[in-house]
């Protein structure tokens, strides 16, 4: 049963075998979670988005036409759900930016070495990384997360994003460059 291919499991699920769906979930849950955490940067939120992804898979599997591989289709859903979550989360980010406007001194004064607690430092880095990622255009962000977190090849990413390979190469290159520039420019403001 374990050695069954994705397509075989999909077929079994469509024939009414829910155990096949369980096996597919077990096979891909960690991979989907890694993509989701690349967008959310929060373990609990990534768990929630992963759950939303698999619920959507459960609902939409009868409509899966098999034009791409199951994993490509699944990752596409995970990316869509994560991006939707990020958009929903925009209000929180807006509030966060208001907080940072209200207390700019706190950010300016947080030179390296001022934080004794590594955990706080980590939180600040996380905040900075989140901001750096959200500063990227949507496609660059998706390409960056799939490349950096999931370590997918550019060919796989081009299939997921339904873009030409050359475009994906450019997107990843630009995303890395933009991320680096952002981190160098604003790293100091986050107490790194």
């Amino acid at each position: 049963m374990v050695s069954q291919t994705d397509q075989q499991l999909v077929t079994e699920f469509l024939e009414g075998n829910n155990r096949a769906f369980r096996l597919l979930t077990e096979r891909y849950q960690q991979k989907v979670f890694t993509i989701c955490i690349g967008f959310t940067h929060d373990k609990d939120e990534a768990n929630d988005v992963s759950q939303e992804t698999f619920i959507e898979v459960f609902r939409s599997l009868p409509k899966f036409r098999g034009q791409s591989s199951f994993s490509t289709w699944l990752y596409r859903i995970a990316v869509t759900k994560s991006m939707k979550f990020v958009q929903r989360d925009r209000f929180k980010k807006f509030k966060l930016s208001l907080d940072s406007l209200a207390d700019p001194i706190g950010y300016e004064q947080s030179d390296k070495g001022n934080f004794a607690d590594d955990r706080i430092n980590r939180q600040e880095t996380k905040k900075m990384l989140k901001k750096a990622l959200s500063s990227l255009p949507k496609k660059q962000r998706i390409a960056f997360v799939l490349n950096k977190y999931k370590e997918l090849t550019n060919t796989e990413i081009s299939e997921i994003m339904t873009l030409p390979l050359a475009t994906v190469d450019t997107l990843i290159h630009r995303a890395r460059k933009n991320m680096k520039q952002y981190i160098i420019k604003y790293g100091g403001n986050y107490g790194m």
């Binding site: 077990e26 849950q29 390296k112 790293g187």
Partner: protein, 138 residues
């Protein structure tokens, strides 16, 4: 090598193997570039730690419960909706049945008014000499 060049060449998301001796020497002598390098390393380390995060061990159980709950909600939704939808369809059908003849009747009245026929059978509109003849007959 200047600071700008060094920063451009700092490998996109740290890979120390790509660093040349010249770059290492610059980083050890330039505090600004050294700090920039530390920021990049810090971000890289965070990404690495996020990648190593494991999904909740209860994920599958929670997922199955959520799917079950969603399914029940959907079934409940359709069961509740079904009689209401049927009632709505019946009422809508009746209303259409009542309103539709009026709509066609109105349009028939306005377009097909038999003005000539009405005039012919309207006594008062008859020619005066004909009226005289009628009077004589009576």
């Amino acid at each position: 090598m200047g600071c700008k060049e060094i920063r451009n060449n700092l490998s996109d998301f740290a890979n120390e193997k790509e660093m040349t001796e010249e770059m290492r020497a610059h980083l050890s002598s330039c505090p600004d570039c050294s700090r920039a390098w530390e920021y990049i390393l810090e971000a890289e380390s965070l990404i690495k730690s996020e990648k190593e995060e494991k999904i909740s061990p209860f994920f599958l159980t929670r997922l199955e419960a959520a799917i079950e709950s969603n399914h029940e909600q959907e079934v409940r939704f359709y069961n509740v909706l079904k009689p209401q939808l049927a009632a709505f369809m019946i009422v809508a059908g009746m209303l259409i049945g009542i309103v539709l003849p009026f709509v066609f009747q109105t349009s028939y009245d306005s377009k097909m008014k038999p003005t000539q026929e009405e005039f012919l059978f309207f006594e008062m509109a008859v020619e005066p000499n004909e009226m005289d003849l009628l009077n004589e007959l009576s």
